[in-house]
């Protein structure tokens, strides 16, 4: 009997390079998309960029934060690159908006991209019914949107308020009150997004495992397990 996890692990084993490639591509795409949204939202091209000594800063945080419980969240928020628009109409210039490339978020986006690629691979090799497939893909879409949204690394130098993911929502047009009301839901939405995505993967993998098991039981004459070929449709391109 083939289990859903066996199906997933088999795909990961055979296609990990492809999954990693698409994960990284997705992370770069997500950041580029965020930058494009900022440019469209504010109507200005970025006019400054700063690269930070991320490793050095991580080392400083590690050395000067006694508690590991405190250290990890601070490291998680550490910037690597800042790209934004500086308004020089007032004073010596005021940074109006910026996209912050944060390595920890890149890792999350890469994992997210990898999971999406995994889902697509499973779906392509699955003969599960159309409704289940559509529901699975819809679930995955919702999950990815939630994760992407809550890992948005944009900041708006609006305020003295500490930057958070809802700043991205406010910048993109959601009202302030609605944005602030959602702020505390960040971790819940983030984990819910991943959970929905994982459930979708599981559902499709389960369908595929069942299909495989049915195939096995109907094939009375053969004692050999047919090898599942998870040739990636993505690879074929």
């Amino acid at each position: 009997m083939m289990q859903p996890m066996d199906t997933v692990l088999s795909v990961v084993k055979h296609s990990w390079r492809s999954l990693l490639f698409w994960g990284l591509t997705f992370a770069v795409f997500a950041q580029t998309l965020q930058l494009a949204m900022l440019i469209i939202r504010f109507g200005d091209l970025p006019n400054y960029g700063i690269s930070y000594d991320w490793l050095g800063n991580i080392s400083t945080i590690a050395q000067s934060t006694p508690s590991i419980k405190d250290m990890l969240p601070i490291m998680f928020e550490e910037w690597w690159i800042e790209i934004g628009f500086m308004n020089y109409d007032y004073g010596n210039g005021i940074s109006e908006w910026s996209l912050n490339v944060i390595p920890s978020r890149l890792v999350i986006l890469t994992i997210l991209g990898g999971l999406l690629a995994l889902l697509i691979l499973l779906k392509r090799n699955s003969a599960c019914d159309a409704v289940a497939g559509t529901v699975g893909m819809a679930g995955a879409s919702v999950g990815s949107v939630l994760v992407c949204m809550t890992t948005a690394a944009m900041s708006w130098v609006v305020c003295c308020a500490t930057p958070s993911w809802v700043v991205g929502l406010a910048m993109l047009g959601l009202s302030v009150s609605a944005s602030l009301a959602l702020e505390d839901l960040g971790p819940t939405l983030f984990f819910s997004g991943f959970a929905v995505l994982l459930v979708s993967i599981y559902a499709i993998a389960r369908g595929q495992a069942q299909q495989h098991n049915r195939q096995l039981s109907s094939d009375k004459s053969s004692h050999e397990l047919p090898a599942l070929e998870y040739t990636s449709a993505l690879n074929r391109t």
Binding site: S67, E77, N92, I94, S95, W156, V158, C160, T162
Partner: protein, 460 residues
């Protein structure tokens, strides 16, 4: 004997290691990183002035355990207080200078952690009634009072002191949040939208409102002083840094004190130099830093300040769900008291003094800033208006004029004040409503600045 020899060797080695380590400790480089805001006037005495005049370097300890220490001082300029807190969390900044709301967020965010804390060690300046924050409308708007904002769009940098002031002002005037649309806009965007008439009103912190007035794009309809809650700025420092180098923190507070002295000594020189450092127009800065200006430079931590930040914390707790803040653990007078003692100043006396513009500015002369001759003062309105008429007649270039609001004692630009002419003299007001009431009581009439000047233009 062998044991004795081995012990002696060990002792010699240990002594050698200790000597090397001690040498290293005394020759250590102390990194001092300060986060400040060059677009927030009230932070200047702990930021740009200290930086540019090298006042911190002047006061840093150079004896005792600091005899061989080298200082590596860096200054980072931010547009708001939030990023300063983040950088302090990551220990990239030791000191942060910011306004009251961001200060509270700073203290609360640190106290939320298990192992990190900041200390609120000194103020920079204040306005007892809350001036500095204000609500501005486009200069051609038909809105003249806060109650006219019902059904309108109002923007503010959410989380800032101006945001807190806006919420309180609306509550005080019985305008629930459902009756106006709140938008989140940065100071620069808000100012640009006011100039373009794209937003009905914008609430901002110092010196943005005055900047808009000076540029002729905006008009104040509500001043923070109407909320009656003091507006203050201050200095926070990471507790681990303060514990390791308490003398450096005291030196920083001494620099803050001296920066205030330097400004008071010659406000004109100070604002001219500050304009070069910050890019903010000197005429706007003069409104803050001159005698009778909006800002009282004072590093002391007054009891009223603690009450004010406690009140502000309740607003932030309600609106932004920020963590609790233990004020007793966060606020310390130790460093500011030590700084005053070392400077030979009376801390308690200054702490007990609070400047109320209504009282302090009563009878202060009006001023004309001639671009070539500098500022001249006039004790009464007729002499002020006569001088204006004369200077305009010669085509003299004037940078700005300053008068005082009868109601609040606030210093205003002559051109943005509401003028009332009655049988006896002229009076100036911040708000149109109060000017109209005064005119009605005195049987006078509401006029503009140019009309008042025209009364003194001599024929021929």
């Amino acid at each position: 004997m062998k044991t004795y020899k081995a012990l002696s060797k060990s002792l010699i080695v240990m002594a050698g290691v200790s000597f090397v380590l001690a040498g290293q400790a005394s020759a250590e480089t102390i990194k001092i990183a300060v986060g400040h805001q060059s677009m927030c006037t009230d932070t200047y005495t702990a930021g740009i002035v200290v930086k540019e005049l090298g006042l911190l370097e002047k006061h840093l300890p150079k004896t005792g355990k600091y005899a061989d220490a080298e200082y590596d001082i860096s200054w980072s300029d931010y547009s708001s207080g939030g990023p300063i807190t983040n950088q302090m969390m990551a220990n990239k900044l030791n000191f942060g200078v910011m306004g009251d709301y961001p200060l509270i967020v700073n203290g609360a965010k640190f106290q939320e952690t298990e192992s990190l804390r900041t200390l609120y060690v000194a103020g920079t300046g204040y306005n007892l009634k809350g001036s500095g924050n204000a609500i501005v409308v486009p200069v051609d708007s038909d809105v003249y009072s806060i109650d006219q904002l019902v059904g309108k769009e109002v923007s503010t940098p959410v989380g800032s002191a101006a945001w807190g002031m806006l919420l309180k002002a609306m509550q005080d005037n019985d305008i629930p949040s459902t009756e106006y649309t709140l938008k989140n806009q940065s100071p620069a965007v808000g100012a640009a939208n006011i100039a373009a008439g794209k937003i009905d009103a914008h609430s901002d912190f110092c010196p943005w409102s005055e900047l808009m007035e000076f540029r002729g794009t905006g008009r104040k309809i509500y001043d923070g002083s109407e909320t009656g809650v003091p507006y203050l700025h201050g200095v926070v420092v990471r507790e681990d840094f303060a514990t390791e180098y308490p003398e450096v923190v005291t030196a920083f507070v001494k620099a803050v004190y001296e920066a205030g002295d330097w400004i008071r000594e010659d406000p004109m020189r100070a604002v001219s130099m500050m304009e070069g450092w910050t890019g903010v127009e000197k005429e706007v800065l003069y409104l803050y830093f001159s005698k009778g200006g909006h800002l009282t430079l004072d590093p002391t931590i007054k009891d009223e300040w603690i009450e004010a930040v406690a009140f502000n914390h309740t607003v932030l707790e309600r609106e932004k769900a920020i963590p609790p803040l233990n004020f007793d653990q966060w606020i310390t007078e130790d460093f500011v008291k030590a700084a005053y003692a070392e400077l030979g100043q009376d801390y308690e006396a200054e702490k007990m003094t609070a400047v109320d513009p209504v009282i302090a500015n009563k009878g202060l002369p009006n001023e004309i800033w001639h671009s070539r001759d500098g500022v001249t003062t006039y004790d009464d309105m007729p002499s002020f208006l006569s001088a204006m008429a004369e200077m305009q007649g010669t085509g003299a270039k004037l940078n700005a004029t300053y008068v005082y609001d009868i109601e609040t004692g606030l210093k205003l630009f002559g051109k943005t004040a509401f003028w009332v002419k009655d049988a006896e003299s002229y009076a100036t007001f911040l708000r149109k409503g109060e000017a109209e009431s005064y005119a009605s009581d005195k049987g006078g009439q509401l006029i503009d600045f140019d009309t008042a000047i025209a009364d003194f233009i001599k024929e021929g």
